[in-house]
Symmetry: C2
Amino acid sequence: MPSHDDDLGYLDAASAFNLDQELMSNPGFCLEQLMELAGLSVAEAVYHVLPVVAPSKGEPSAIIAKNKILIVCGPGNNGGDGLVAARHLHHFGGAVTVVYPKNTSDQQPHYANLVQQCRDLHIPVLAEMPHDDDEVLGSYAVIVDAIFGFSFRGEPRPPFDAILRTIIRAAKGRAITVAVDVPSGWPVDGFDTTTTEHGQDPLYWMPDVLVSLTAPKLCAKQFTGRHFVGGRFLPPALAEKYQIRMPRYPGVQQVVEVTTTRTTTMCVDLKN
Amino acid sequence: MPSHDDDLGYLDAASAFNLDQELMSNPGFCLEQLMELAGLSVAEAVYHVLPVVAPSKGEPSAIIAKNKILIVCGPGNNGGDGLVAARHLHHFGGAVTVVYPKNTSDQQPHYANLVQQCRDLHIPVLAEMPHDDDEVLGSYAVIVDAIFGFSFRGEPRPPFDAILRTIIRAAKGRAITVAVDVPSGWPVDGFDTTTTEHGQDPLYWMPDVLVSLTAPKLCAKQFTGRHFVGGRFLPPALAEKYQIRMPRYPGVQQVVEVTTTRTTTMCVDLKN
């Protein structure tokens, strides 16, 4: 039986920050390690939701049929997870393009590594979004939103405000949209459900897929698409402290799909 | 069709060292990242060779039937790979014990992280081998040799000489023995096949399983057990430079079993 996401517990923004700090205390995990595992989780989730075709004779396994993947990376750790996912998805057979508008390798030296690792695989790393029309942006089977994570507050600033509007338009089209940890633009602790105007919020969009890292954030209660959870590294003491239950991961998977049964008026898929 | 290991190319000790340096050039991969992926490969291979039982009702997947795993970690990067594998195998459902006789976290600060990550999962980290009898050592379904890697030369020194003799005895018993990258004690560039005395070498033992990392080392030509290859990160320019062909990894696996058809007089499985 797959886990239900309501059984896992949710983290508010402050708890997510504190848990991250505790995971990376010394001795503990280092950023490079956690980012590698987080990005691998995202890549596995994207692989699972991609349309595949049956293997032809002589092929070792099913091949991704529509494998053009766009990964949009923000300036912080969410963007780092996206850069790692790009590399793994390339090795999984994806035709990956990265959009990384704000290079932050001066603040985070490891980001220079992650970008170089993509370039060494001939993954295009663009500073701007592809042209927003059917011929270009419409050709991607999957668009990954790795722009903002659990430390996002307030309003998206340029250039990410315009980029996010483009992704939201794409989410109404054919592309499968996958959000890393938090759908960018969403308040991490969730939209205020005591009013109804938020449904009109231009940043209120519904990705097809959410990949929660370590544990779902509070806003995931308002998500109605396919929900995956990654983070198969949480020590039991931290899980207990933050009242998180790890889902049951099958086999050697780094990510697991969990069930979601919410359908509230808050959670209208904008595609419908 | 699985790849044949002879098609992948082999690295001698000097090339393996140089390739490792190039992978970790700046910008490139950092040690923590590569070790995480290497250790995950080892853990996946161990999972694949473990005996499993069919899932019972209500269970998400097959459960490891005999899951007592001993991982013996040396003082260098091979041992670091073992420490990473221990953590992942715990999360995969293994009952893992680590033997780590020579703590080298003063030279490699990341090793303190890796040991702490094991302890946080309540994995016993012992300084000495369990008692070498059927009751104790004989109770492990799998013994992982993560003692020496591609930079090993000469003769094993204490305490690893005695530990290795214990593992070699265990390899003749019921335990499945898994060597990380190079069977410890083997010359990385292989035994001299122009003489026959090496078959009498007390360090000439045959693990059941070898997990080659990035590419098989030259001595793997003399290995006759189940052969896995991990390292799904190699950039094409380095593969070309070192004349390595990556095997075809199915799905999202970080490791793949390759075929081996050697049966020379050199390669007698000591169990037979």
